[in-house]
């Protein structure tokens, strides 16, 4: 029989983890980066308690990385369906602008609800264009990327809108259980998304639509609706990220907030093991990918790399992580070293 005789062998299990595991390699990449920091910037792992909460570089990474993590969570679902969302940065700007403008005029809850609602509606528009209009995702969301930024700037008149609303400021600056409140938000969104995709059939539907849309439709899955849902959800995530970004600097900077963050989010998702072509996705992988980017950025600050040439080491890390993920590269290296050992 063709039963996998090796399945019960722990060594084989470990091996198969190395061969297939999508989570393993981003984690290894992150660990290596941490190790590098441990050697070259001793303050990296320094943590202390200040005013009852943790304080240190690692905490910063979690806090500053929260925006990309949130975007990446939404983006993962979209990429799973074979799409992409370029508009997230602009949606962040819209959400931040609306909240900053309204928080003084209406109640805090209403302002938050309004801005998140708007971001979600914008996502729905993306979804309708893509799911029902059959427009290529990259173009459909590019439209909102350009126009959304304009809208956000129109709302704020090109000014930076500052505010001092305590509840709003808490979102991006507060602490909960000793950690930045943003960590709680990310954890909540992550857990919610994990539950929503894995404890229901939504995850399965996303993967089927992304892997073979025609076949999924033939099974009776409403692929168009699935798409509208994921773009809406990504819009919502972008809205939350926008609130965090705005709250964090106590100002709505609608012309700059979230600029180029869509690329970071896509990067995080792809590094996390979700292929851009759709299908299987890993939310945790994306979050790790986002942490990887933020760690990389902080590493550059810590090493004092001249900002204009910082992209070079960044490029090297990206390609290195990529190579680690490649099964072919690993076998190549193994055989290379294997041969050497035989030779000596």
């Amino acid at each position: 029989m063709l039963l996998p005789s090796t399945m019960n062998d722990p060594l084989a299990k470990l091996k198969s983890l190395f061969q297939g595991g999508s989570l393993l390699w981003p984690v290894v990449g992150l660990t290596l980066l941490f190790g590098f920091n441990a050697v070259f910037s001793p303050s990296f792992f320094h943590l202390e308690v200040r005013d009852g909460h943790l304080y240190g570089t690692l905490v910063d990474i979690l806090n500053q990385g929260s925006k990309v993590m949130l975007l990446a969570i939404g983006m993962t679902l979209i990429i799973a369906t074979g799409g992409v969302d370029l508009s997230v940065g602009s949606l962040m700007a819209i959400a931040g602008a609306v909240a900053a403008l309204m928080v003084t005029k209406i109640s805090f809850a209403a302002a938050v609800a309004l801005s998140l609602g708007l971001a979600t509606v914008a996502g729905v528009c993306n979804g309708i264009l893509i799911g029902y209009g059959g427009i290529q995702p990259i173009i459909a969301t590019l439209i909102l990327m350009v126009a959304g930024r304009g809208l956000a700037m129109l709302l704020t008149g090109g000014q930076i809108i500052t505010f001092e609303h305590p509840a709003f400021v808490f979102i991006g600056n507060g602490h909960f259980l000793g950690l930045p409140f943003t960590v709680t938000i990310v954890l909540f969104v992550l857990c919610f998304t994990l539950l929503a995709t894995r404890k229901t059939a939504i995850g399965l539907f996303l993967e089927s639509v992304g892997d073979n849309e025609k076949a999924a439709r033939f099974c009776g899955i409403n692929a168009s609706l699935v798409k509208v849902m994921v773009y809406a959800y990504s819009g919502l995530c972008a809205g939350v990220a926008g609130l965090i970004a705005t709250s964090n600097i106590k100002a709505a900077d609608s012309s700059r907030v979230g600029e180029f963050m869509e690329l970071d989010a896509i990067f995080a998702v792809v590094v996390g093991g979700t292929p851009l072509t759709g299908g299987r996705f890993s939310l945790v992988g994306s979050v790790i990918g986002a942490l990887l980017i933020q760690t990389l950025t902080v590493t550059m600050y810590n090493l004092g790399v001249e900002p204009s040439v910082a992209p070079v080491p960044k490029a090297i890390v990206i390609v290195a992580v990529c190579l680690m993920q490649s099964g072919r590269f690993r076998t190549h290296m193994l055989s290379f070293f294997g041969k050497r050992r035989v030779a000596t």
Partner: protein, 501 residues
């Protein structure tokens, strides 16, 4: 005896620890047609892929004309004189028929394509197979059968010493098959060595000179076709005795009391796709659709299932008019459709066997009510056993299964739904003898429980065995209907032929 052209010995190939080939071998000689037989998952396609450089064998050797070769890619194999049609039609759906036939061998001057010559040569290649098509249309828009013919035309266009055909006839009708066999015989007589895989025993005996049988990746034996009786061949493939399927027919013929009509179409038509057609299917009835290629059988299935929306006529379900504008609505009406094109319309390649299997059922439950994992596992286990699906476990990716086993999973997907009407378009495409019998039995038992079946097949024997009524189609028109004892292969062929005059 003629000289050996392509020989493989003791080939071993494992995928992630699972041995697909474990001592397989083959000896292909000059000027012969050689059938490679074995049940689904026996390793036929894998052996072919090893021979043609797609997979690298873990052990074993390949010789061509006495010299050891180890092709690293299909290109190298082609250069060495091996031309292949792989099992899953491997064409570029977005390119035209002409481009597909001549990809890599286009006529050119100064490195630039000669588009007129390209078209001419492609047309000529198809004409050899008796086909006249617009070679400018994209392959993706063609029916399965046409795609299969295009793949064959491509292989024939390559100047080769060895021709390998992996299930080339699985969705061809008899006329096309005869055409192909004619060409194969001619090539053999010219000295070519042809390796041929099929699950149709009749076809094996019709063309092959010798037969090699594989079982569980091992070489069972090599026989002269003339010396090997059918039952012995089946025995060699399955490794056990096998009862023929003839008795099914009796059961079918007797159990046809008049029952309530489940689904009815009234002059259903779509411009350019289907002429008005009226059909009715009773509860607990198997209605067959017979016809030659391009007669419009798939179109009827697609119109019923809301994939091609008809522009005239109506569909009535249990007497009430039904609007079916999407697959989802069709499923809601209790319909199920197992497509003939498993690669593009069936498989979700990167999902597991289990997930593929439960997908339709889950879709009908909606996204929120997840089928409990226990239930999923139970269903998967059940069908893996019932249909003898060869897979390491239910969590294996479906894309790693052999073609026939993939087909079984897709069938299980729809059978498990317990639909009121199941439309099966070439359901046994690529399925081995043993499993075919299992599936036919399953269809019968479901029918007995009151399910209706619309059965489309190019295998007339199969239609005769399974159907209680047969609608005969031609040129996108229904031209006749047979029932009960009238359902016989020659009767059906007569109806089609009569219409010719």
């Amino acid at each position: 005896m003629s000289a050996s052209v392509l020989r493989a010995q003791n080939v071993v190939k494992a995928f992630q620890g699972v041995k697909a080939l474990d001592g397989a071998g083959l000896d292909l000689r000059e000027a012969e047609i050689h059938a490679l037989m074995g049940e689904n998952g026996a390793g036929k396609s894998t052996l072919i892929k090893v021979l043609t450089g797609v997979h690298k064998p873990d052990a074993g050797g390949i010789e061509m004309a006495g010299r050891a070769i180890s092709p690293g890619s299909t290109r190298e194999a082609e250069a060495a004189g091996i031309s292949t049609v792989y099992q899953e039609v491997n064409l570029i759906p977005t390119l035209s028929i002409a481009d597909n036939i001549l990809l890599g061998r286009q006529p050119r001057t100064f490195g630039l394509l000669r588009k007129k010559a390209l078209k001419k040569r492609a047309e000529a290649a198809l004409a050899r197979l008796g086909l006249k098509l617009d070679v400018g249309q994209t392959v993706g828009s063609c029916s399965m059968a046409v795609q299969q013919m295009v793949a064959i035309a491509r292989a024939l266009d390559i100047q080769a010493k060895v021709l390998i055909l992996d299930e080339p006839t699985s969705s061809l009708d008899e006329r096309e098959v005869e055409f192909l066999f004619g060409i194969m015989r001619k090539l053999r007589d010219e000295g070519m060595a042809i390796l041929f895989v099929t699950h149709f025993l009749d076809q094996v005996y019709a063309v092959s000179d010798r037969i090699t049988v594989l079982r569980n990746g091992k070489l069972v034996g090599e026989y002269l076709a003339a010396d090997l009786p059918r039952l012995k061949l089946i025995g060699a493939m399955l490794g056990r005795e096998f009862e023929e399927m003839e008795h099914l027919k009796e059961e079918t013929a007797h159990s046809a009391p008049a029952r309530k009509v489940f689904l009815e179409t009234v002059n259903l038509s779509k411009r350019g796709l289907m002429n008005p057609v009226s059909l009715s299917i009773a509860e607990g009835e198997v209605l067959g659709l017979a016809g030659l290629l391009g007669s419009g059988r798939t179109e009827i299935a697609k119109m019923l299932f809301g994939i091609a929306v008809p522009d005239k006529g109506e569909i009535r379900i249990q007497g009430k008019q039904a609007t079916i504008k999407s697959a989802r609505q069709a499923v809601q009406h209790g319909l199920a459709f197992c497509s003939e094109d498993r690669k593009s319309e069936g498989l979700i390649p990167h999902l597991s066997v289990r997930e593929n299997l439960i997908l339709a059922m889950q879709a009908s439950r909606g996204p929120l009510r997840l089928l409990p994992r226990k239930e999923q596992d139970r269903l998967a286990e059940h069908y893996i056993r019932a249909l003898n699906i060869k897979t390491p476990n239910a969590e294996a990716l479906i894309q790693n299964l052999s073609g026939g086993n993939q087909q079984k999973v897709l069938l299980a997907r729809w059978l498990s739904m317990q639909p009121k009407l199941i439309i099966l378009d070439e359901p046994t495409r690529g399925i081995d003898v043993g499993a075919k019998a299992e599936i036919e039995k399953l269809v019968h038992s479901l029918r007995a429980q009151g399910m209706s079946v619309l059965f489309i097949s190019s295998d007339m024997e199969e239609i005769v065995r399974t159907c209680q009524r047969v609608a005969v189609l031609r040129d996108r028109k229904k031209i006749g209907e047979l029932s009960g004892a009238d359902i016989q292969v020659n009767r059906i062929m007569n109806v089609i032929a009569q219409h010719d005059e």
